[in-house]
Amino acid sequence: MENIPAELRYTKSHEWVRQVHNGAVEVGITEHAQSALGDLVFVEVPDVGRALKAGEACAVVESVKAASDVYSPIGGKVTESNASLATQPELLNQDPYGAGWLFRLETGLATDVSTLMSAGDYAAFLNEATK
Protein backbone atom coordinates (compact mmCIF):
# COMPACT_ATOMS: atom_id res chain seq x y z
CA MET A 1 0.00 0.00 0.00
CA GLU A 2 1.28 3.44 -0.95
CA ASN A 3 2.23 5.85 1.79
CA ILE A 4 -0.35 8.66 1.51
CA PRO A 5 -0.46 10.77 4.68
CA ALA A 6 -4.03 11.70 5.62
CA GLU A 7 -3.24 15.28 6.67
CA LEU A 8 -1.95 16.33 3.20
CA ARG A 9 -3.72 17.39 -0.01
CA TYR A 10 -2.80 16.03 -3.46
CA THR A 11 -2.84 16.73 -7.21
CA LYS A 12 -3.27 14.49 -10.22
CA SER A 13 0.30 15.35 -11.21
CA HIS A 14 1.46 13.76 -7.91
CA GLU A 15 2.39 16.81 -5.86
CA TRP A 16 1.42 17.05 -2.19
CA VAL A 17 0.53 20.21 -0.25
CA ARG A 18 0.88 20.74 3.50
CA GLN A 19 -0.85 23.70 5.10
CA VAL A 20 1.81 25.06 7.46
CA HIS A 21 -0.44 27.80 8.77
CA ASN A 22 -3.06 30.03 7.28
CA GLY A 23 -1.58 31.56 4.11
CA ALA A 24 1.52 29.34 3.97
CA VAL A 25 1.98 25.91 2.39
CA GLU A 26 4.76 23.41 1.77
CA VAL A 27 4.94 21.45 -1.49
CA GLY A 28 6.62 18.20 -2.50
CA ILE A 29 6.06 15.15 -4.66
CA THR A 30 4.42 11.95 -3.47
CA GLU A 31 5.86 8.59 -2.51
CA HIS A 32 4.28 7.22 -5.68
CA ALA A 33 5.98 9.89 -7.85
CA GLN A 34 9.46 9.38 -6.39
CA SER A 35 9.10 5.64 -6.71
CA ALA A 36 8.04 5.90 -10.37
CA LEU A 37 11.00 8.20 -11.16
CA GLY A 38 13.59 6.01 -9.47
CA ASP A 39 16.85 7.25 -7.98
CA LEU A 40 16.99 11.01 -8.37
CA VAL A 41 20.27 12.58 -9.44
CA PHE A 42 19.26 16.23 -9.63
CA VAL A 43 16.52 18.45 -8.28
CA GLU A 44 15.97 22.01 -9.48
CA VAL A 45 13.85 24.13 -7.14
CA PRO A 46 12.30 27.55 -7.87
CA ASP A 47 14.06 30.75 -6.82
CA VAL A 48 12.86 32.43 -3.64
CA GLY A 49 10.64 35.38 -4.46
CA ARG A 50 9.27 33.87 -7.66
CA ALA A 51 5.51 34.31 -8.11
CA LEU A 52 3.83 31.11 -9.22
CA LYS A 53 0.47 30.53 -10.79
CA ALA A 54 -1.49 27.38 -10.01
CA GLY A 55 -0.41 24.69 -12.46
CA GLU A 56 2.81 26.47 -13.43
CA ALA A 57 5.88 24.29 -14.03
CA CYS A 58 8.33 25.45 -11.38
CA ALA A 59 10.71 22.63 -10.44
CA VAL A 60 12.42 19.74 -12.19
CA VAL A 61 13.15 16.33 -10.72
CA GLU A 62 15.66 14.31 -12.71
CA SER A 63 16.55 10.66 -12.42
CA VAL A 64 19.04 8.82 -14.62
CA LYS A 65 16.14 7.87 -16.90
CA ALA A 66 13.89 10.90 -16.96
CA ALA A 67 13.49 14.54 -16.07
CA SER A 68 10.00 15.65 -15.04
CA ASP A 69 8.42 18.99 -14.27
CA VAL A 70 6.79 19.69 -10.94
CA TYR A 71 3.72 21.95 -11.11
CA SER A 72 2.74 24.33 -8.37
CA PRO A 73 -0.56 23.02 -6.95
CA ILE A 74 -1.71 26.52 -6.03
CA GLY A 75 -0.67 30.08 -6.75
CA GLY A 76 1.64 32.02 -4.46
CA LYS A 77 5.07 33.46 -3.88
CA VAL A 78 8.06 31.22 -3.11
CA THR A 79 9.32 32.00 0.40
CA GLU A 80 11.78 29.15 0.72
CA SER A 81 13.32 26.40 -1.43
CA ASN A 82 14.87 23.19 -0.14
CA ALA A 83 18.57 23.94 -0.67
CA SER A 84 19.64 20.53 0.71
CA LEU A 85 18.33 18.85 -2.43
CA ALA A 86 21.08 20.45 -4.53
CA THR A 87 23.68 18.23 -2.92
CA GLN A 88 21.41 15.45 -1.60
CA PRO A 89 18.72 14.71 -4.18
CA GLU A 90 18.32 11.28 -2.55
CA LEU A 91 16.49 12.97 0.35
CA LEU A 92 13.51 13.10 -1.97
CA ASN A 93 13.61 9.33 -2.48
CA GLN A 94 14.16 8.60 1.19
CA ASP A 95 11.67 10.99 2.76
CA PRO A 96 9.34 12.52 0.15
CA TYR A 97 6.90 13.94 2.72
CA GLY A 98 9.58 15.27 5.09
CA ALA A 99 13.21 16.14 4.33
CA GLY A 100 12.45 15.87 0.61
CA TRP A 101 10.04 18.83 0.50
CA LEU A 102 10.62 21.11 -2.52
CA PHE A 103 9.45 24.64 -1.74
CA ARG A 104 7.25 26.76 0.52
CA LEU A 105 4.70 29.23 -0.76
CA GLU A 106 3.05 32.26 0.70
CA THR A 107 -0.53 32.13 -0.50
CA GLY A 108 -3.39 34.49 0.03
CA LEU A 109 -5.23 34.02 3.34
CA ALA A 110 -8.30 33.08 1.37
CA THR A 111 -6.55 30.19 -0.36
CA ASP A 112 -8.34 26.98 0.35
CA VAL A 113 -6.31 23.79 -0.05
CA SER A 114 -9.40 21.70 0.53
CA THR A 115 -10.27 22.12 -3.16
CA LEU A 116 -7.34 19.74 -3.86
CA MET A 117 -7.67 15.98 -3.53
CA SER A 118 -7.80 14.42 -0.08
CA ALA A 119 -5.66 11.40 0.78
CA GLY A 120 -8.63 9.18 0.09
CA ASP A 121 -9.34 10.79 -3.26
CA TYR A 122 -5.67 10.49 -4.26
CA ALA A 123 -5.56 6.82 -3.24
CA ALA A 124 -8.64 6.20 -5.36
CA PHE A 125 -7.07 8.16 -8.23
CA LEU A 126 -3.90 6.06 -8.06
CA ASN A 127 -6.00 2.89 -7.93
CA GLU A 128 -7.92 3.98 -10.98
CA ALA A 129 -4.74 5.01 -12.83
CA THR A 130 -2.97 1.71 -12.17
CA LYS A 131 -5.92 -0.52 -13.04
Binding site: D47, S63, A67
Partner: protein
Protein backbone atom coordinates in the same frame (compact mmCIF):
# COMPACT_ATOMS: atom_id res chain seq x y z
CA UNK B 1 19.05 -8.99 -45.28
CA UNK B 2 19.37 -8.47 -49.00
CA UNK B 3 18.63 -4.96 -50.29
CA UNK B 4 16.78 -6.07 -53.41
CA UNK B 5 13.91 -3.98 -54.76
CA UNK B 6 10.45 -5.43 -54.95
CA UNK B 7 9.91 -7.72 -57.91
CA UNK B 8 6.97 -7.01 -60.20
CA UNK B 9 5.24 -9.99 -58.54
CA UNK B 10 5.73 -8.35 -55.09
CA UNK B 11 4.30 -5.09 -56.39
CA UNK B 12 1.32 -6.82 -57.98
CA UNK B 13 0.64 -8.77 -54.77
CA UNK B 14 0.73 -5.60 -52.66
CA UNK B 15 -1.51 -3.68 -55.05
CA UNK B 16 -4.02 -6.52 -55.05
CA UNK B 17 -4.04 -6.62 -51.26
CA UNK B 18 -4.80 -2.92 -50.89
CA UNK B 19 -7.22 -2.91 -53.80
CA UNK B 20 -5.42 -0.64 -56.26
CA UNK B 21 -5.25 -1.64 -59.91
CA UNK B 22 -1.92 0.05 -60.56
CA UNK B 23 0.77 2.29 -59.05
CA UNK B 24 -0.78 5.23 -60.91
CA UNK B 25 -4.14 4.54 -59.35
CA UNK B 26 -2.50 4.29 -55.91
CA UNK B 27 -1.15 7.84 -56.26
CA UNK B 28 -4.27 9.08 -58.01
CA UNK B 29 -5.09 11.68 -55.33
CA UNK B 30 -1.87 13.63 -55.91
CA UNK B 31 -2.85 16.51 -58.25
CA UNK B 32 -1.29 16.32 -61.71
CA UNK B 33 0.31 19.77 -61.38
CA UNK B 34 2.34 18.59 -58.37
CA UNK B 35 3.85 15.68 -60.26
CA UNK B 36 7.35 15.89 -61.67
CA UNK B 37 6.36 14.23 -64.92
CA UNK B 38 9.11 12.72 -66.99
CA UNK B 39 12.56 13.38 -65.53
CA UNK B 40 14.14 13.07 -69.00
CA UNK B 41 17.26 11.47 -67.61
CA UNK B 42 20.13 10.67 -69.94
CA UNK B 43 21.01 7.04 -70.63
CA UNK B 44 22.85 5.18 -67.87
CA UNK B 45 26.66 5.39 -67.87
CA UNK B 46 29.30 2.90 -66.83
CA UNK B 47 31.58 3.61 -63.84
CA UNK B 48 34.40 4.51 -66.20
CA UNK B 49 32.20 6.93 -68.15
CA UNK B 50 30.89 8.57 -64.98
CA UNK B 51 34.46 8.99 -63.68
CA UNK B 52 35.48 10.71 -66.87
CA UNK B 53 32.43 12.99 -66.93
CA UNK B 54 33.00 14.09 -63.32
CA UNK B 55 36.72 14.74 -63.92
CA UNK B 56 35.80 16.94 -66.89
CA UNK B 57 33.24 18.86 -64.85
CA UNK B 58 35.64 19.31 -61.91
CA UNK B 59 38.20 20.76 -64.32
CA UNK B 60 35.66 23.45 -65.29
CA UNK B 61 35.96 24.84 -61.73
CA UNK B 62 39.62 25.55 -62.37
CA UNK B 63 41.97 25.93 -59.41
CA UNK B 64 41.07 29.36 -58.08
CA UNK B 65 43.05 31.06 -55.34
CA UNK B 66 40.51 31.63 -52.60
CA UNK B 67 40.58 34.73 -50.39
CA UNK B 68 37.00 34.39 -49.09
CA UNK B 69 36.58 33.64 -45.39
CA UNK B 70 33.43 35.03 -43.73
CA UNK B 71 33.03 32.06 -41.39
CA UNK B 72 34.55 29.22 -43.44
CA UNK B 73 38.33 29.16 -43.59
CA UNK B 74 40.76 27.40 -45.90
CA UNK B 75 43.54 25.90 -43.78
CA UNK B 76 46.08 23.24 -44.58
CA UNK B 77 44.83 19.84 -43.44
CA UNK B 78 47.68 17.38 -42.76
CA UNK B 79 47.20 14.15 -44.74
CA UNK B 80 46.84 11.89 -41.66
CA UNK B 81 43.70 13.76 -40.54
CA UNK B 82 41.38 12.27 -43.14
CA UNK B 83 43.42 9.08 -43.61
CA UNK B 84 42.64 8.26 -39.97
CA UNK B 85 39.14 9.75 -39.91
CA UNK B 86 38.00 7.56 -42.82
CA UNK B 87 39.22 4.31 -41.25
CA UNK B 88 36.35 1.88 -40.85
CA UNK B 89 36.46 2.15 -37.06
CA UNK B 90 35.61 5.87 -37.20
CA UNK B 91 33.79 6.26 -40.49
CA UNK B 92 30.28 6.79 -39.16
CA UNK B 93 28.46 10.08 -39.07
CA UNK B 94 26.61 9.71 -35.78
CA UNK B 95 27.02 8.72 -32.19
CA UNK B 96 26.19 4.99 -32.29
CA UNK B 97 22.76 4.04 -30.99
CA UNK B 98 24.29 1.62 -28.49
CA UNK B 99 26.75 4.28 -27.50
CA UNK B 100 28.53 2.46 -24.69
CA UNK B 101 29.29 -0.50 -26.97
CA UNK B 102 31.55 1.86 -28.95
CA UNK B 103 34.09 2.85 -26.33
CA UNK B 104 36.57 4.09 -28.95
CA UNK B 105 34.09 6.55 -30.41
CA UNK B 106 33.11 7.77 -26.94
CA UNK B 107 36.75 8.16 -25.92
CA UNK B 108 37.43 10.23 -29.03
CA UNK B 109 34.48 12.52 -28.26
CA UNK B 110 35.67 12.79 -24.66
CA UNK B 111 39.12 13.83 -25.87
CA UNK B 112 37.47 16.34 -28.23
CA UNK B 113 35.46 17.81 -25.34
CA UNK B 114 38.64 18.08 -23.24
CA UNK B 115 40.46 19.89 -26.05
CA UNK B 116 37.59 22.32 -26.57
CA UNK B 117 37.55 23.07 -22.84
CA UNK B 118 41.29 23.75 -22.95
CA UNK B 119 40.90 26.06 -25.97
CA UNK B 120 37.93 28.00 -24.60
CA UNK B 121 38.92 28.01 -20.93
CA UNK B 122 35.50 26.62 -20.04
CA UNK B 123 34.57 23.74 -17.73
CA UNK B 124 32.40 21.56 -19.93
CA UNK B 125 31.90 21.05 -23.67
CA UNK B 126 29.24 19.08 -25.48
CA UNK B 127 29.97 16.52 -28.20
CA UNK B 128 29.33 19.16 -30.93
CA UNK B 129 26.32 20.65 -32.66
CA UNK B 130 25.21 21.01 -36.26
CA UNK B 131 27.22 24.09 -37.27
CA UNK B 132 28.39 27.46 -35.99
CA UNK B 133 25.18 29.30 -36.84
CA UNK B 134 22.86 26.82 -35.15
CA UNK B 135 25.27 26.64 -32.19
CA UNK B 136 24.67 30.37 -31.65
CA UNK B 137 20.91 29.83 -31.89
CA UNK B 138 21.18 27.09 -29.26
CA UNK B 139 23.34 29.35 -27.10
CA UNK B 140 20.64 32.03 -27.21
CA UNK B 141 17.93 29.53 -26.22
CA UNK B 142 20.18 28.24 -23.45
CA UNK B 143 20.88 31.76 -22.15
CA UNK B 144 17.16 32.49 -21.84
CA UNK B 145 16.66 29.22 -19.89
CA UNK B 146 19.75 29.74 -17.77
CA UNK B 147 19.73 33.38 -16.73
CA UNK B 148 18.05 33.22 -13.33
CA UNK B 149 18.42 36.92 -12.62
CA UNK B 150 16.30 37.75 -15.66
CA UNK B 151 13.04 36.52 -17.13
CA UNK B 152 13.72 38.43 -20.34
CA UNK B 153 13.47 36.71 -23.68
CA UNK B 154 15.50 39.44 -25.39
CA UNK B 155 19.10 39.12 -26.60
CA UNK B 156 21.53 41.88 -27.61
CA UNK B 157 22.97 40.92 -31.01
CA UNK B 158 25.69 43.19 -32.39
CA UNK B 159 25.64 43.85 -36.13
CA UNK B 160 29.32 42.89 -36.15
CA UNK B 161 28.29 39.27 -35.51
CA UNK B 162 28.30 37.06 -38.63
CA UNK B 163 25.08 38.05 -40.39
CA UNK B 164 24.23 34.46 -41.31
CA UNK B 165 24.55 33.41 -37.67
CA UNK B 166 22.27 36.25 -36.59
CA UNK B 167 19.71 35.23 -39.23
CA UNK B 168 19.79 31.58 -38.20
CA UNK B 169 19.51 32.49 -34.51
CA UNK B 170 16.52 34.67 -35.32
CA UNK B 171 14.90 31.94 -37.44
CA UNK B 172 15.32 29.23 -34.77
CA UNK B 173 14.96 31.17 -31.52
CA UNK B 174 12.46 33.64 -32.97
CA UNK B 175 9.87 30.89 -33.11
CA UNK B 176 10.19 30.54 -29.35
CA UNK B 177 9.31 34.18 -28.72
CA UNK B 178 12.90 35.24 -28.32
CA UNK B 179 13.66 38.61 -29.84
CA UNK B 180 16.94 40.17 -30.86
CA UNK B 181 17.98 43.79 -30.43
CA UNK B 182 20.71 44.68 -32.89
CA UNK B 183 23.63 46.80 -31.68
CA UNK B 184 25.53 49.09 -34.05
CA UNK B 185 29.27 48.74 -34.62
CA UNK B 186 31.60 51.73 -34.53
CA UNK B 187 32.14 52.98 -38.08
CA UNK B 188 35.70 54.08 -37.36
CA UNK B 189 37.09 51.05 -35.56
CA UNK B 190 34.80 48.28 -36.87
CA UNK B 191 34.18 46.98 -33.37
CA UNK B 192 31.32 47.08 -30.88
CA UNK B 193 31.73 49.91 -28.39
CA UNK B 194 30.47 50.11 -24.83
CA UNK B 195 29.00 53.49 -25.83
CA UNK B 196 26.75 51.72 -28.35
CA UNK B 197 25.42 49.58 -25.52
CA UNK B 198 24.68 52.53 -23.24
CA UNK B 199 21.14 52.80 -24.57
CA UNK B 200 20.39 49.30 -23.21
CA UNK B 201 21.94 49.79 -19.78
CA UNK B 202 19.56 48.85 -17.01
CA UNK B 203 17.13 47.21 -19.45
CA UNK B 204 16.22 43.58 -19.05
CA UNK B 205 18.07 41.34 -21.52
CA UNK B 206 18.95 37.68 -21.09
CA UNK B 207 22.31 37.90 -22.82
CA UNK B 208 24.80 39.87 -24.89
CA UNK B 209 26.46 38.13 -27.85
CA UNK B 210 30.10 38.99 -28.61
CA UNK B 211 31.99 37.57 -31.58
CA UNK B 212 35.80 37.50 -31.31
CA UNK B 213 37.20 38.29 -33.81
CA UNK B 214 34.00 39.77 -35.18
CA UNK B 215 32.59 39.31 -38.69
CA UNK B 216 34.84 42.12 -40.00
CA UNK B 217 37.89 40.33 -38.60
CA UNK B 218 38.27 43.09 -35.99
CA UNK B 219 39.10 42.37 -32.38
CA UNK B 220 36.42 43.32 -29.87
CA UNK B 221 37.27 44.66 -26.42
CA UNK B 222 35.98 41.47 -24.86
CA UNK B 223 36.95 42.24 -21.26
CA UNK B 224 34.97 45.47 -21.16
CA UNK B 225 32.00 43.93 -22.99
CA UNK B 226 31.92 40.92 -20.67
CA UNK B 227 32.02 43.07 -17.55
CA UNK B 228 29.30 45.33 -18.97
CA UNK B 229 27.02 42.35 -19.63
CA UNK B 230 27.52 40.94 -16.15
CA UNK B 231 27.02 44.29 -14.44
CA UNK B 232 23.70 44.57 -16.25
CA UNK B 233 22.48 41.11 -15.26
CA UNK B 234 23.09 39.53 -18.68
CA UNK B 235 24.89 36.37 -19.60
CA UNK B 236 27.76 36.71 -22.07
CA UNK B 237 27.61 34.48 -25.14
CA UNK B 238 30.99 34.28 -26.89
CA UNK B 239 31.17 33.33 -30.57
CA UNK B 240 34.77 32.44 -31.30
CA UNK B 241 37.09 31.18 -34.03
CA UNK B 242 38.91 28.13 -32.62
CA UNK B 243 42.08 28.88 -34.59
CA UNK B 244 42.22 32.37 -33.09
CA UNK B 245 41.83 30.91 -29.59
CA UNK B 246 45.35 29.48 -29.93
CA UNK B 247 46.70 33.04 -29.59
CA UNK B 248 43.90 34.91 -27.79
CA UNK B 249 42.76 35.03 -24.19
CA UNK B 250 40.28 32.18 -23.76
CA UNK B 251 36.65 33.30 -23.29
CA UNK B 252 36.62 31.60 -19.88
CA UNK B 253 38.96 34.37 -18.72
CA UNK B 254 37.24 37.35 -20.33
CA UNK B 255 36.44 40.27 -18.04
CA UNK B 256 38.02 41.65 -14.92
CA UNK B 257 35.98 39.53 -12.57
CA UNK B 258 38.05 36.46 -11.74
CA UNK B 259 36.33 33.13 -12.28
CA UNK B 260 33.45 34.54 -14.28
CA UNK B 261 34.38 35.05 -17.96
CA UNK B 262 31.99 34.17 -20.76
CA UNK B 263 29.00 32.08 -19.70
CA UNK B 264 28.41 30.22 -22.97
CA UNK B 265 31.00 29.80 -25.71
CA UNK B 266 30.07 28.62 -29.20
CA UNK B 267 31.33 28.76 -32.75
CA UNK B 268 32.10 27.05 -36.02
CA UNK B 269 34.62 24.20 -35.88
CA UNK B 270 35.28 23.86 -39.62
CA UNK B 271 38.69 25.56 -39.40
CA UNK B 272 39.95 22.56 -37.39
CA UNK B 273 40.65 20.08 -40.17
CA UNK B 274 37.37 20.14 -42.09
CA UNK B 275 37.61 21.07 -45.79
CA UNK B 276 35.57 23.96 -47.19
CA UNK B 277 33.69 21.51 -49.44
CA UNK B 278 30.48 23.04 -50.76
CA UNK B 279 29.66 24.76 -47.47
CA UNK B 280 29.36 21.65 -45.35
CA UNK B 281 29.22 19.36 -43.53
CA UNK B 282 30.85 21.43 -40.78
CA UNK B 283 30.33 21.28 -37.03
CA UNK B 284 29.37 23.64 -34.25
CA UNK B 285 30.88 23.62 -30.79
CA UNK B 286 29.57 24.74 -27.42
CA UNK B 287 31.11 24.98 -23.98
CA UNK B 288 29.89 26.41 -20.69
CA UNK B 289 30.39 26.49 -16.95
CA UNK B 290 29.62 23.42 -14.84
CA UNK B 291 26.81 25.27 -13.06
CA UNK B 292 24.93 25.56 -16.38
CA UNK B 293 25.61 22.05 -17.67
CA UNK B 294 22.02 20.86 -17.26
CA UNK B 295 20.82 23.60 -19.58
CA UNK B 296 23.39 22.84 -22.28
CA UNK B 297 21.92 21.11 -25.34
CA UNK B 298 23.45 18.14 -27.10
CA UNK B 299 25.22 15.01 -26.09
CA UNK B 300 27.98 14.87 -23.50
CA UNK B 301 30.40 12.00 -23.01
CA UNK B 302 31.58 11.41 -19.46
CA UNK B 303 34.45 9.37 -18.05
CA UNK B 304 33.46 6.89 -15.40
CA UNK B 305 34.29 3.52 -13.84
CA UNK B 306 32.51 0.29 -14.75
CA UNK B 307 31.23 -2.21 -12.18
CA UNK B 308 34.72 -3.77 -12.03
CA UNK B 309 36.33 -0.41 -11.36
CA UNK B 310 37.83 -0.08 -14.83
CA UNK B 311 37.77 3.33 -16.55
CA UNK B 312 35.26 3.72 -19.33
CA UNK B 313 33.11 6.27 -21.13
CA UNK B 314 29.38 6.79 -21.30
CA UNK B 315 26.85 9.28 -22.57
CA UNK B 316 25.75 11.36 -19.62
CA UNK B 317 23.03 13.86 -18.71
CA UNK B 318 20.74 12.31 -21.30
CA UNK B 319 17.60 12.89 -19.24
CA UNK B 320 17.35 16.40 -20.75
CA UNK B 321 17.56 15.17 -24.33
CA UNK B 322 14.69 14.87 -26.75
CA UNK B 323 14.40 11.07 -26.79
CA UNK B 324 13.46 11.27 -23.10
CA UNK B 325 12.10 14.75 -22.46
CA UNK B 326 10.37 15.19 -25.83
CA UNK B 327 9.10 18.74 -26.38
CA UNK B 328 10.66 19.95 -23.12
CA UNK B 329 14.17 18.84 -24.02
CA UNK B 330 17.01 21.37 -24.03
CA UNK B 331 17.14 21.11 -27.82
CA UNK B 332 15.37 19.38 -30.66
CA UNK B 333 18.40 19.64 -32.92
CA UNK B 334 20.62 17.02 -31.34
CA UNK B 335 22.87 16.37 -34.31
CA UNK B 336 26.38 15.60 -33.18
CA UNK B 337 28.69 15.93 -36.18
CA UNK B 338 30.66 12.86 -35.14
CA UNK B 339 32.75 12.46 -38.27
CA UNK B 340 33.75 16.14 -38.44
CA UNK B 341 34.58 16.05 -34.73
CA UNK B 342 36.78 13.02 -35.37
CA UNK B 343 38.73 14.98 -37.99
CA UNK B 344 38.97 18.02 -35.69
CA UNK B 345 40.24 15.93 -32.79
CA UNK B 346 42.94 14.35 -34.94
CA UNK B 347 43.81 17.76 -36.41
CA UNK B 348 44.20 19.31 -32.94
CA UNK B 349 46.19 16.28 -31.73
CA UNK B 350 48.62 16.56 -34.65
CA UNK B 351 49.13 20.31 -34.39
CA UNK B 352 49.09 20.69 -30.64
CA UNK B 353 48.84 24.12 -28.99
CA UNK B 354 52.11 25.30 -30.58
CA UNK B 355 51.13 24.17 -34.08
CA UNK B 356 47.69 25.75 -33.85
CA UNK B 357 49.23 29.02 -32.63
CA UNK B 358 51.61 28.90 -35.62
CA UNK B 359 48.62 28.54 -37.97
CA UNK B 360 46.95 31.53 -36.30
CA UNK B 361 50.06 33.72 -36.36
CA UNK B 362 50.98 32.85 -39.94
CA UNK B 363 47.40 33.57 -41.09
CA UNK B 364 47.49 36.95 -39.33
CA UNK B 365 50.80 37.78 -41.00
CA UNK B 366 49.55 36.77 -44.47
CA UNK B 367 46.49 38.98 -44.05
CA UNK B 368 48.68 41.86 -42.85
CA UNK B 369 50.87 41.39 -45.94
CA UNK B 370 47.78 41.39 -48.14
CA UNK B 371 46.48 44.57 -46.52
CA UNK B 372 49.84 46.32 -46.98
CA UNK B 373 49.92 45.40 -50.67
CA UNK B 374 46.26 46.15 -51.36
CA UNK B 375 46.11 49.52 -49.59
CA UNK B 376 49.10 50.74 -51.59
CA UNK B 377 46.78 50.63 -54.61
CA UNK B 378 45.02 53.88 -55.50
CA UNK B 379 41.33 53.64 -54.57
CA UNK B 380 41.77 50.90 -51.95
CA UNK B 381 41.87 51.48 -48.19
CA UNK B 382 41.05 49.74 -44.95
CA UNK B 383 37.52 50.31 -43.72
CA UNK B 384 38.29 50.08 -40.01
CA UNK B 385 41.09 50.95 -37.62
CA UNK B 386 40.73 48.15 -35.05
CA UNK B 387 43.43 45.47 -34.92
CA UNK B 388 42.41 42.42 -36.93
CA UNK B 389 42.91 38.68 -36.99
CA UNK B 390 43.16 36.98 -40.40
CA UNK B 391 40.34 38.87 -42.06
CA UNK B 392 39.79 42.52 -42.93
CA UNK B 393 37.36 44.87 -44.72
CA UNK B 394 38.68 46.84 -47.69
CA UNK B 395 36.87 49.88 -49.10
CA UNK B 396 37.05 50.29 -52.87
CA UNK B 397 36.32 53.19 -55.16
CA UNK B 398 34.49 50.80 -57.47
CA UNK B 399 31.59 48.38 -56.85
CA UNK B 400 32.97 45.25 -55.21
CA UNK B 401 30.97 42.97 -57.51
CA UNK B 402 32.75 44.40 -60.58
CA UNK B 403 36.16 44.15 -58.95
CA UNK B 404 35.48 40.55 -57.92
CA UNK B 405 34.32 39.65 -61.42
CA UNK B 406 37.55 41.07 -62.88
CA UNK B 407 39.69 39.21 -60.33
CA UNK B 408 37.80 35.96 -60.95
CA UNK B 409 38.85 36.15 -64.59
CA UNK B 410 42.41 35.83 -63.27
CA UNK B 411 41.50 32.79 -61.19
CA UNK B 412 41.23 34.68 -57.90
CA UNK B 413 38.28 34.68 -55.53
CA UNK B 414 38.97 38.14 -54.15
CA UNK B 415 36.70 38.18 -51.10
CA UNK B 416 33.08 38.64 -50.04
CA UNK B 417 31.09 41.60 -51.35
CA UNK B 418 29.51 43.24 -48.26
CA UNK B 419 27.23 45.65 -50.15
CA UNK B 420 24.01 43.73 -49.41
CA UNK B 421 24.80 42.98 -45.77
CA UNK B 422 26.26 46.41 -44.92
CA UNK B 423 25.08 48.85 -47.62
CA UNK B 424 26.15 51.81 -45.45
CA UNK B 425 29.81 50.88 -46.00
CA UNK B 426 29.66 51.53 -49.75
CA UNK B 427 31.91 49.36 -51.92
CA UNK B 428 33.22 47.03 -49.20
CA UNK B 429 35.03 43.74 -49.53
CA UNK B 430 35.74 41.21 -46.73
CA UNK B 431 39.10 39.53 -47.41
CA UNK B 432 40.89 36.68 -45.68
CA UNK B 433 44.35 35.15 -46.17
CA UNK B 434 45.27 32.07 -44.18
CA UNK B 435 48.59 30.22 -43.91
CA UNK B 436 47.70 28.50 -47.20
CA UNK B 437 48.42 31.73 -49.08
CA UNK B 438 52.12 32.14 -49.81
CA UNK B 439 53.94 35.38 -50.75
CA UNK B 440 53.49 34.56 -54.43
CA UNK B 441 49.72 34.22 -53.88
CA UNK B 442 49.53 37.54 -52.05
CA UNK B 443 51.43 39.12 -54.97
CA UNK B 444 48.96 37.57 -57.42
CA UNK B 445 46.08 38.99 -55.37
CA UNK B 446 47.56 42.49 -55.28
CA UNK B 447 48.34 42.41 -59.01
CA UNK B 448 44.82 41.28 -59.89
CA UNK B 449 43.27 43.91 -57.59
CA UNK B 450 45.49 46.64 -59.05
CA UNK B 451 44.40 45.58 -62.55
CA UNK B 452 40.74 45.61 -61.56
CA UNK B 453 41.00 49.08 -60.02
CA UNK B 454 42.94 50.44 -63.00
CA UNK B 455 40.31 49.01 -65.35
CA UNK B 456 37.67 51.07 -63.55
CA UNK B 457 39.69 54.28 -63.94
CA UNK B 458 40.28 53.53 -67.63
CA UNK B 459 36.54 53.04 -68.07
CA UNK B 460 35.68 56.23 -66.19
Amino acid sequence: MAFIPHTSDDVAAMLTLIGAASIDELFDEIPAELRAGSLALPAPLSEMEVGRLMAERAALDGRPLNFIGAGAYEHHIPAPVWAITTRGEFYSAYTPYQAEASQGTLQLIYEYQSMMCALTGMEVSNASLYDGASALAEACLMAVRTNRSSTSRRILMPRAVNTVYAQVASAIAGNQDITFQSVEYDRASGSTLIESLAAYKGQDFAALVVQQPNFFGSFEEVDALTDWAHRNGMLLIAVVNPTALAVLKPPGEWGAEAGRGADIVCGEGQALGVPLAGGGPYFGFMATRMQYVRQMPGRIVGRTLDSDGRPGFSLTLQAREQHIRRSKSTSNICTNQGLMVTAATIYMSLLGPVGLAAVAQTSMQRTADLVAGATAIKGVRRAFSAAHFHEVVLLLERPAAQVLADMARHGIFGGLDLSERYPELGHALLVCATETKLAVDIDAYVTALRGAMAASRAAA
